[in-house]
Amino acid sequence: MRRIPWALLVLLAALLVPAAGSRFYTFLANDVIIWALFATSLNLLVGYTGLVSFGHAAYFGIGAYTTGILMKKAALPFVLAFPAAGVLAGALALLFGTFCVRLTRIYFAMLTLAFAQIVWAICFKWNEVTGGEQGMPEVPYPDLAWMGSLPVLRDLRTSDHFYLLTVLLVALCLWILHRIVRSPFGRMLTTIRENAERAEFIGVHVRRYELAAFVLAGAFAGLAGGLFGIFNRGVFPDFAYWTKSSEVLIMTLLGGMGTFWGPSVGALALILLNQQIVSYTEYWPFVLGIILVVLLFGFPGGLAGAAELLGRRLWRPRRA
């Protein structure tokens, strides 16, 4: 069961989506993949370190604005503007995180929310730089002409080219996050989640690790934001609003906080569900609420958790 390289297969499937020729499917897949990165970055904080943040959208928003502003106003190439999103978001996370990790639980959550709303308020009002309430429409695509020169990709549209670039970049980011999670550093984070007091007594400087997790999570959220701004053909203040934070938190929960791929599965599930439901009824929040309630009462481990339970019953359990 575990010999099958699922991740590789999914990557391959993702790369083949434009071949189906449907603009809609490519659009959907692009959406899912970016949100998968966003949700996985949050999971580093919530699922692995046990820190629940209500303001993760702040870094997503900063990333989007950074890339958008650099590419649109400063005409910088994508290859500089994209990493800048991660760097700036990470820097902001360092600043905010220093204050947040001093607090616990509900106070931590409230402060992350407060900082996120501050970011939103600045984006909303700073008309000169961020375009204020109107945001920044028409963020340019990166220069993808080199893709057009490759034989296989010649006939695809620019949006398809960008999609493929997104797939590769997100795959890279997820691979890095996966390495981090499976490293000794990642293990130390789980000890903090399990029992912060005990972790201290095995030599873990809890606050420093939490800050590191915060910064990494913020940086990757920023990268996701950078991609999203271009994908969305515009950057708007609501990228940093608290409802975005709750969306990504729900995705993480829906997919399952206890696993690495859970949030990605959650992103896929939520976006597809949204797509389907919205075509039948305008009461998507109602449906989402019901789904959440069912999840909370029945499947606290999320979809991935349920799948794992199922998998464990059908195949042999793994050994240490």
């Binding site: 789980t190 000890t191 007594f201 030599g203 690790y209 240490a320």
Partner: protein
């Protein structure tokens, strides 16, 4: 090896520990006893930096370690176990002990290596010495109380401490489990040349292995000496006579 001087701590006016002073000789087994509420756990929390003392000092091998935070203290060689079992419940037994090794050997900030087989040998051999090797793959939270206490001990030992502080290591155990645990602790301490300081309120346990006993009552030291001296002390008898069940 460990000197405690005039340690004092009050919570909102309630004095939990009042001017406690005693010494823990190197290589020996020392015990702190006292009825429930005497302040033993608070004392441990003060020594290990988990709580900040209002007054007093803690000196380890001549070095002032008062108020040094726990994560630094265990690097200087102080290991600790807790009264209420304090392990990483959702990790496996193996992962619990391995985490302690990872942290202690300074690999905690490594983001590149794969963690699965790191320090496998050390972890397994420690588990074997505790009798937990066969249960390495089990989730720690599902272990029996006694096994969890052993795991606790393992977590402390993985840090290769010079001195081990055990807070009520036999709390909640049956008579048989208590005997076994005490035997285990004694053996482990002698094998590794550890200095041991533990708290208990079961006198039998204490007198069977401790070389030095300090008696705490309502936050103050009321007796301090060899087991025989303490047993004969009038005030100790008075305090415990009313507590005997």
């Amino acid at each position: 090896m460990l000197e405690v001087r005039e340690l004092t701590k009050a919570f909102d006016g309630f004095v939990a520990v009042s001017r406690v002073s005693f010494d823990v000789p190197k290589g020996g087994v020392s015990a702190i006893i006292g009825p429930n509420g005497a302040g033993k756990t608070t004392l441990f929390n003060l020594i290990t930096g988990h709580l900040r003392a209002d007054a007093g000092r803690v000196v380890l091998n001549g070095r002032d370690v008062t108020g040094v935070p726990p994560h630094e203290l265990c690097r200087i060689g102080v290991g600790r176990s807790f009264q209420r079992t304090n392990i990483f419940a959702k990790l496996t037994v193996y992962e619990n002990v391995q985490a302690a090794f990872l942290s202690h050997r300074g690999r905690g900030w490594n983001v590149f290596a794969s963690v699965r087989d790191l320090y496998r040998d050390e972890t397994m051999s420690l588990l074997e010495s505790l009798g937990l090797a066969t249960r390495a793959g089990e989730i720690a939270g599902f272990l029996s109380h006694g096994a969890q206490k052993q795991l606790e001990l393992g977590l402390a030992l993985a840090l290769e401490p010079d001195i081990l502080l055990l807070d009520e290591p036999t709390a909640g155990m049956s008579a048989t489990e208590t005997r076994e645990t005490i035997r285990l602790i004694d053996r482990v301490a002698r094998d590794r040349g550890l200095t041991l300081l533990f708290t208990e309120h079961d006198m039998e346990v204490v007198f069977s292995i401790a070389q030095k006993v300090t008696v705490l009552h309502q936050g103050r030291v009321i007796a301090d000496g060899s087991p025989a001296q303490v047993r004969a002390d009038a005030e100790v008898r008075r305090v415990y006579l009313g507590e005997r069940h």
